[in-house]
Subunit: 333 residues, 2 copies
């Protein structure tokens, strides 16, 4: 790399927009922000490591920059809140060029602009071998509005946004050396967080519990159920699947498990009172966001997947555990 | 490792203390905190990478856990503020054992307790080859109290806490394969941030500009001078040096450059009006914190080091740039 550390910091400092709540941005020991009265500050942090979370021979760097923002925005959306600003930690391996850094930052800033977010700090250094990305995001939420995982109630509906399994199907194809369609590539490499949906569900108090699907439906739903001390019955016939996923499923029915257990959907999963069904459907229509009711919260603390004829189904893939599967972001199909 | 990702999260969740301002801690998509009216939220983030920032054959993991907290507390102290909570991102390489993880977390939690900080979130995953630590810290600061780098004034005194160069001397000895004294090992592996000093200087409005010394006196002072559009004259005779450093300096006078340019001091460097000298000295005495007046802010935008006989001195080491020196946290002596 030709650029020096402080030259790089100065370059991104000039590029980072400043909002009215940002009192101090990049360039000091800390950022300083104002949190308006009656609001909570929300924070989430994510590590993205080369060859663990992404491969540079699969993704272009602009997409990676964009995805780094999206996966964090998704965490704020899952609380029913709005994102405000991000902090970017970057460890750059030997041989990483100025052009590569520019490509990453272009995708990163494009996503910030799209989500109306500010870059307010970070840390840059060399890495020994692989690209290291650490992102922290902060958001604002009116007190009492935040939707946690622990407040789902028995008899609630369970809803999910978008379609499931596309990202996992893309990964399975990449791992098998097969080409990706534009659609699957976009779902895997350039996910968009459901920022507006999260905010609408939060501000209208329509979700009783919510999280974002990063580890897969089965795994993440289990987190929600455990936190809420309830169970769920999921109607497999109702899982929202893209056209491309459905076509693949006809060829290989075992791919269903990718929709159930595959990670990186970055869709929102939430519980809601039955009497709010119409309001939620209206919201989906108003904002053009696909929403599907996939099951019900039950009192028994178990997770049951039901097939079309009412038979229970046991997926063969286990849900994702970062410590258990070194180097593989997802089980391949 | 025997422990699973979610078992680990549950384990540290139980261990993480909760304060009155922490509305939601570990275990959801985000943390939620209350920022009292009239206060700003401060945030800083740091990456610590194996074989870039630390070597596991040199440091024990408890010290590393402790240092990970200290270097972040130092950033909050440098704003004249108080730290509140931290977020821990951990990428664990293959072969990293449960015992190693416990040791790291023991040191980490010990430092949190010492600084009365809360662990409010994080992210854990496998790393491909080397231990990856990403820490974000948040602090609170009454509005108008934060001390930035950009407000030093001509004729101000320049002060520094503690002693300079010990950590760099320790590193030079490690790199030369020499043993470390207890004192040098503590200064390098287990630095304590100047948390109380930062807060006192901020709350009594005694510092006109401040930062913490992580990259070395020459480098960090340059950041402060550039941000403030001023210069400085530093009296080398006044640099605070530990007894051990002074002894080493007698043997090899070139080591002076380690006090001037060597990084990882984690001391505070600040400017202050001349008429506050007595108040600052009283503060130093009250809290038992060594403080030394090392120079003066000047109008010419240059940094001059003056020897005992008034002759200018040019250090031979350049200040630290993370992009320029792959794999070496500091130039060796």
């Amino acid at each position: 790399m030709g650029i020096g550390e402080f030259e790089f910091i100065e370059k991104i400092r000039q590029r980072a927009a400043r909002g009215p709540l940002i009192k101090l941005g990049i360039g000091d020991d800390c950022s300083a922000i104002t949190v308006p009265a009656g609001q909570h500050l929300l924070t989430s942090t994510d590590l993205l490591l080369e060859n663990i979370h992404f491969r540079l021979d699969w993704t272009d760097l602009a997409s990676l920059g964009q995805k780094s923002v999206a996966v964090n925005v998704s965490d704020i959306a899952a609380m029913g809140a709005r994102p405000l600003c991000v902090y970017l930690g970057l460890g750059l391996p030997p041989g990483f060029t100025d052009e590569q850094l520019d490509q990453f930052m272009d995708g990163f800033f494009a996503a910030l602009e799209q989500e109306q977010l500010f870059l307010t700090g970070g840390d840059t250094c060399r890495a020994q071998e692989s690209l290291t990305i650490a992102i922290t995001i902060q958001g604002l939420c009116p007190e009492g509005q935040q939707v946690t995982r622990s407040t789902a109630e028995v008899h609630d509906d369970l809803w999910v946004s978008g379609t499931l399994g596309d990202s996992a199907l893309a990964l399975a194809r990449l791992q098998a050396g097969k080409p990706l369609s534009e659609f699957l590539a976009a779902r895997h490499f350039r996910p968009r967080a459901r920022a507006e949906l999260g905010w609408q569900l939060g501000s209208h108090k329509l979700a009783t519990a919510m999280l974002d699907l990063s580890d897969g439906l089965a795994g993440d739903l289990t987190h929600l159920l455990t936190a809420s001390a309830v169970g769920a019955c999921i109607d497999l016939d109702q899982l929202p699947l893209s056209e491309e996923f459905q076509k693949a499923l006809i060829v290989d029915p075992r791919l269903l498990d990718l929709a159930i257990c595959g990670g990186e959907n970055y869709e929102l999963l939430f519980s809601a009172h039955k009497h709010n069904r119409t309001r939620i459907e209206d919201l989906a229509q108003e904002f053009g966001i696909p929403l599907r009711r996939i099951g019900t919260v039950i009192a028994d603390e178990e997770l049951v997947f039901m097939g079309a004829e009412g038979q229970p189904y046991q997926p063969q893939l286990r849900s994702f555990d970062h410590f258990a599967t070194p180097g593989k972001p997802l089980p391949s199909s």
